[in-house]
């Protein structure tokens, strides 16, 4: 019993952590959808959804129920296997990066102070298994998987998400869908280059590809570059623009431009399969917001917080985590704000902007950063 529990313990912890992280992110994503409709309403002088629950707070659940209950139409001439595969690929690729998000600083001793209030449970040779658990939980990282190539992992996994869109466009057997899929794959390949190049500057300054390592590097930098947005402002702008293109958001939402392509790649999708695409888009928004915050805005790091709370204590972690979420919410709001403000690019403008302006600027930024880092380290 005791050994079985001790063997199973890491698996239980990881399962709970994954459940919490995914549930949390999906709840935030559900409310991003509501926030988008509300904010767009305010921008356009409307009220927005306000019927389900007070101020419409239950709207996401009503939407979900509607998605489940709607009829699931499958086009007769579609390629069935690929048609079913596409939304799964899109959502899987969108959700996978959650495992490397740095949600907060590691907590030195999270549950020892709770032990006196908890019941004593003896198990095998352990007098109190709660004490053993508290011992195991020391130095608890607020990241599910600590891998030393977090930045590359996020870039790689999100780049797989383009298959969801491209295959959906191809398998629907619909001209508009195919155009949407084609546009999407061309657009994603083009802007991925600029995105990768804009990340390089930060990686060079931090000297690591680990997301937590990048945050620590920012915390340990001199005051004039506490956040990498200051030395890497050009990189930040390039990253932000290519993030809009990567998530297919206005002004780069060419793959689903409703005035040209009906609904683009998901024209033929309905019910839950459409909901999967919808969720994938908003989870992708969340992911690039996290990347923006971690790479350029210091992640969970709040300057001066270590003077108020002890580093590694529970309140320190909670306040840091709240700051992290607040920064993400700012970027999510920025997405909605820009959607309500800017018109859409034309496709040739989009391509020439990506290749002839964004990519050279990003590469120039990399070269300048290389020279500066080299001179600084001499």
């Amino acid at each position: 019993m005791e050994t079985a529990f001790k063997t199973a313990f890491p698996f239980i912890v990881f399962s709970v952590a994954i459940l919490l992280a995914f549930q949390g992110v999906l709840m935030i994503v559900a409310y991003t959808v509501l926030a988008e409709r509300k904010v767009l309403g305010w921008i356009q002088g409307r009220i927005g959804p306000n019927r389900v629950g007070p101020w419409g707070v239950l709207q996401p659940f009503a939407d979900l129920l509607k998605f489940i209950l709607k009829e699931d139409l499958v086009p007769d001439k579609s390629t069935k296997f690929v048609y079913f595969l596409a939304p799964m690929v899109a959502l899987t690729a969108a959700l996978l990066p959650i495992v490397v998000y740095p949600f907060g600083p590691p907590i030195k001793d999270p549950i020892s102070w709770l032990v006196p209030y908890l019941p004593v449970i003896p198990l095998g040779s352990e007098a109190n298994i709660v004490v053993w658990i508290a011992e195991q939980a020391k130095n608890l990282p607020l990241t599910i998987a600590r891998i030393d190539i977090g930045v590359l992992f996020v870039l790689a996994v999100t780049s797989v998400g383009v298959y969801g869109i491209a295959l959906a466009g191809w398998s629907s057997n619909n001209k508009y869908s195919l155009m949407g899929g084609l546009r999407s794959s061309a657009q994603m390949i083009s802007y991925e280059l600029a995105m990768g190049a804009s990340v390089l500057g930060v990686v060079m300054l931090a000297g690591t590809l680990d997301l937590n390592g990048i945050i620590n590097a920012q915390a340990n930098s001199p005051w004039y570059m506490r956040w990498f947005i200051i030395p890497q402002f050009i990189g930040f702008i390039v990253f932000l623009i290519s993030a809009f293109a990567e998530t297919n958001r206005v002004p780069f939402d060419l793959p689903e431009a409703e005035t040209e392509l009906v609904a683009g790649f998901h024209t033929e999708y309905s019910a839950l399969k459409f909901a999967l695409f919808f969720m994938a888009e908003y989870v992708n928004m969340f992911t690039v917001s996290v990347m923006c915050v971690v790479l350029f805005l210091g992640g969970w790091y709040v300057p001066g917080l270590s003077h108020i709370f002890e580093v590694g204590s529970v309140p320190y972690a909670l306040v840091s985590h709240a700051a992290f979420l607040l920064k993400i919410f700012f970027f999510l709001f920025l997405y909605i704000w820009i959607r309500g403000t800017l018109p859409r690019f034309r496709f040739d403008q989009l391509m020439s902007f990506g290749w002839k302006f964004l990519l050279p600027v990003a590469i120039g930024n990399v070269i300048v950063t290389t020279i500066v880092v080299f001179l600084m380290n001499r």
């Binding site: 780049s159 491209a166 899929g181 390949i189």
Partner: protein, 181 residues
């Protein structure tokens, strides 16, 4: 134990996807199967303690090369391959080649099985990003530079190959419409 189970799981998936790639005549099905092979191989690289190579595999193969292939297949709107090959003797050649290579594979399998076991160092650092980067920019600097030049050549070559000026393009169509208005 877990490593063995994972290996056979992903090895089976990789072989199944590879067979399906050769079997399917529709090029898009082949491409999807090949992406499956790449992802399975990336998982196997992870069990071989090479996370950097695993992620690069996803990033370069699944995220860039295969997107290009899928894009070209969709752009050319390719039909299914014709079933009958004009050169019938190719079937015999292919079968013979396959048998020879399989025999060689089994020979290698037994030779390595009989050979003294190589010890796996659990604390190996060869897969770490830092050690790869250090080796890349010190010991293997010249090959890396040559690869850089080769990539530049590939970019220029691709641009020259696909460039075509006879037929009007998007910009010309747009200008024509402007004049009408």
């Amino acid at each position: 134990m877990a490593g063995t189970v994972l290996f056979f799981l992903f090895a089976g998936f990789a072989i199944a996807c590879a067979v399906s790639m050769v079997y399917h005549r529709n090029p898009l099905y082949s491409a999807i199967s090949l992406i499956g092979v790449f992802i399975a191989l990336a998982a196997i690289y992870l069990t071989l303690a090479a996370p950097f190579i695993a992620i690069t595999q996803i990033l370069v193969y699944a995220g860039a090369i295969m997107v290009l292939v899928v894009f070209v297949i969709m752009l050319l709107n390719l039909d299914e391959d014709k079933p009958l090959n004009r050169l019938k003797y190719l079937y015999a050649v292919g079968g013979g080649l396959g048998l020879a290579l399989l025999a060689q594979t089994f020979f290698i399998f037994y030779a390595v099985l009989k050979a003294p076991k190589a010890e796996v160092d659990p604390n190996m650092t060869a897969g770490k990003t830092m050690s790869i980067g250090r080796a890349m920019y010190t010991e293997y600097l010249l090959p890396v530079e040559i690869v850089g030049v080769m990539l530049l050549m590939a970019i220029i070559g691709a641009v020259i190959l696909v460039r075509k000026m006879e037929h009007p393009h998007l910009e010309l169509v747009g200008e024509g419409e402007d004049e009408k208005e």
